[in-house]
Amino acid sequence: MARVTTKPASAGNSREFDLANVALREVNRFLHQDAANEGVAQVRVLNPDGAHSVACGLNAELEVEVDGNVGYYLAGMNKLARVTVNGNAGPGAAENMMSGLVRVRGYASTGAGASAHGGCLVIEGDASLRCGISLKGGDIVVGGSVGSFSAFMAQAGRIVICGDAGDALGDSLYEAVIYIRGDVRSLGADARFEPMTDQDLAAVKELLTTAGFKHAPGEFRRIASAKSLYHWNADANQEY
């Protein structure tokens, strides 16, 4: 296994890792344990070369910047940290995030932000299928479009889509809310358009500001659950 060879980056309490020379396991362990002990607050990761699970399981207010494309589960289960990828991300980016901010400057593959409980995932490009699936309270802002089955079974949280959506958007939604600026190829079961309230406009404005996108909130439409699937056996006990 490669030895940990780190060199201090320009800032005082920062560190740089080159994944071409250092094992991912060492980098993640540094982020989990040593960073706090050594007072390091900023970390730069070079040459990820599609590595999976980069910066996953973080649990501190770290600033992590990754230069290049990453594989699956970028910043998985993130808490508190701010992670930016100057590239594209594979499936499950920021899956099950609890808090913090994860930013993908390029595109994100399937299941971006899956089951995220909190925090904010910003995807500057497009997101693929099942973006925001099982969302549980996190926020997702997509600069481009999302693929089909996005927000499937999303329970809580907000998804802002600046572009278009594929088929079955918001299928089996619970309490999560989707805001979309472009076209929707089709809505999923139990999802419906609803009028935008002042509260919705404020929410979209807040999320666009966080993401750094300059659209007018008024251009977005709201999609939420019609709640007809909340009680699957509503007709039970009607013997005849």
Partner: protein, 466 residues
């Protein structure tokens, strides 16, 4: 005169005619099923596992030691039951005093008091307990020395802090009672605490997903397991649990995916709420599943490297001994634990030890002790599978813990006794060679000879006298 002849005679028919023969194809069970479907337009959902008769461990027997083997003395000679799980990659494998663990059951389906009782009993007995769909409760973390944290498709309440404070992580692909199906918790059990843990509105019927949100297929599972290892700095064992269907292939895929431990749950596995059609018609019996799992591990030369935990209808020390002899490293028990806590008992026990009859409450549900499968209603007459503030008080955690501990202790003693009789100093030394089958079906499924013969269906027979 036989009863039906008497009936026929009373009705004025010739005495030799049979008037009250029940149809085999349209018996009362099937008539009731069709009429229920006709009345409601919905499938039935219920608790407990398969009720039909299936080939099971009951169909196997041990060949105790005699002249060709020495037995060990029952009370004097040591027989180890120590069990270690997760030795493949994890820095901190799980070490247990017995090969009997408590299976994953959710807070939501069970009350928090039941979870606490199970945790306390497991800790006292030196074994592990497991969370379930709905996350980890403080009660169970506090009470369980060794707690396995499940990562389920729904990801209800799944969070990195609990991943970090768990002792092992179990990725659940499926459950024996419903392979291919997601969970189900009917609105009557979704009280505010359960709802908050699952990030859902209280009182709604809650459908859990049947597929994981962030991976699909065995190649993705490799990467998912790696992620969980990275998050936990490669310290904790990763289990993968499958519902028994295509076990031979699935176990191989779990090994390939990097599992430390594989849990195979047969179709007799219990449930708190599943469609009856799933419970009775999907999956294969535990007996068949164990053999396929062991075959797969042997095929890959992974026996002993990846541990096998078997569950699904395991009730007694004999069941456990047979599972171990077939090649399992440990078992997990869910339904049996609930029975130990009083499921289907006529009474519940007050803190002062007095028994209070629950028969009337069973009757309200349309059932009786011994027949209850009404966990899905949330009105458990003995206070186990409920979220009702009054009903859950019927289980006193301290009393429940004592009963479960006694049950675990009995199982472990029975297991060791059987192992000694077979001449083993360690229960993990029990082997297939110690077993014979009572039925052709069991012989074929378990891959052991029919008792009194050298015949294993499906295996070429050796010439006589060989």
């Amino acid at each position: 005169m036989a009863a039906h002849q008497a009936d026929a005679a009373a009705a004025g028919a010739p005495p030799h005619r049979l008037r009250t023969e029940e149809s085999w194809g349209y018996d009362r069970r099937n008539i009731d099923y069709i009429q229920h479907a006709a009345a409601t337009g919905l499938y039935e959902i219920r608790g407990m596992g398969a009720k039909r008769h299936l080939p099971h461990f009951d169909d196997l027997l041990f060949l105790g030691a005699s002249l060709s083997r020495y037995p060990l003395e029952g009370y004097r000679e040591r027989c180890s039951t120590r069990t270690i799980l997760g030795t493949r990659y994890a820095k901190r494998p799980i070490e247990l005093a017995m090969p009997i663990t408590i299976a994953g059951m959710s807070f939501g389906s069970l009350s928090a008091r039941v979870k606490e009782a199970l945790g306390r009993a497991a800790t006292e007995a030196g074994t592990s307990t497991t969370t379930g769909d709905g996350g980890m409760t403080e009660e169970e973390r506090r009470s369980s020395k060794t707690l396995v944290y499940q990562c389920l498709p729904s990801r209800y309440g799944f969070n990195p802090d609990d991943v970090r404070r768990a002792d092992a992580i179990e990725i659940v692909i499926g459950q024996g009672a419903k392979p291919g199906g997601g969970g189900m918790l009917l609105g009557q059990k979704v009280n505010p605490r359960v709802a908050a843990m699952r990030t859902l509105p209280a009182g709604i019927d809650q459908r859990s997903a049947c597929r994981h949100p962030d991976w699909t297929g065995p190649d993705d599972l490799v990467i998912k397991i790696q992620e969980l290892r990275e998050i936990t700095d490669w310290e904790k064992p990763i289990y993968v649990k499958i519902g028994a269907t295509r076990v031979f292939n699935d176990v191989k895929l779990c090994v390939h995916a990097g599992a430390d431990v594989i849990v195979v749950d047969g179709m007799q596995g219990g449930t708190a709420a599943t469609q009856t059609v799933f419970i009775e018609h999907i999956g294969i019996p535990t007996l068949a599943a164990v053999r396929q799992a062991v075959d797969a591990l042997e095929d890959l030369n992974m026996r002993g490297k990846v541990q096998l935990v078997v569950s699904g209808g395991i009730r007694s020390g004999a069941d456990i001994a047979k599972a171990l002899a077939m090649g399992a490293d440990a078992v997990a028990i869910g339904q049996g634990m609930l029975v130990a806590l009083g499921c289907n008992s006529e009474s519940w026990v007050r803190p002062d030890g007095r028994h209070v009859s629950a028969v009337a409450d069973y009757a309200t549900l349309g059932t009786a002790p011994g027949y209850c499968h009404h966990c899905h209603t949330g009105r458990c007459p003995v206070g186990l599978t409920t979220q009702d503030a009054a009903l859950e008080l019927r289980l006193e955690p301290a009393i429940g813990a004592r009963r479960v501990r006694n049950y675990l202790k009995t199982l472990n003693m029975e297991l060791a006794t059987v192992a000694r009789a077979c001449g083993k100093q360690d229960v993990h030394h029990l082997e297939k060679e110690d077993l014979v089958a009572l039925t052709v079906e069991a012989a074929a499924m378990a891959g052991v000879p029919l008792a009194g013969t050298s015949w294993i269906p499906g295996v070429a027979r050796r010439p006589e006298g060989d």
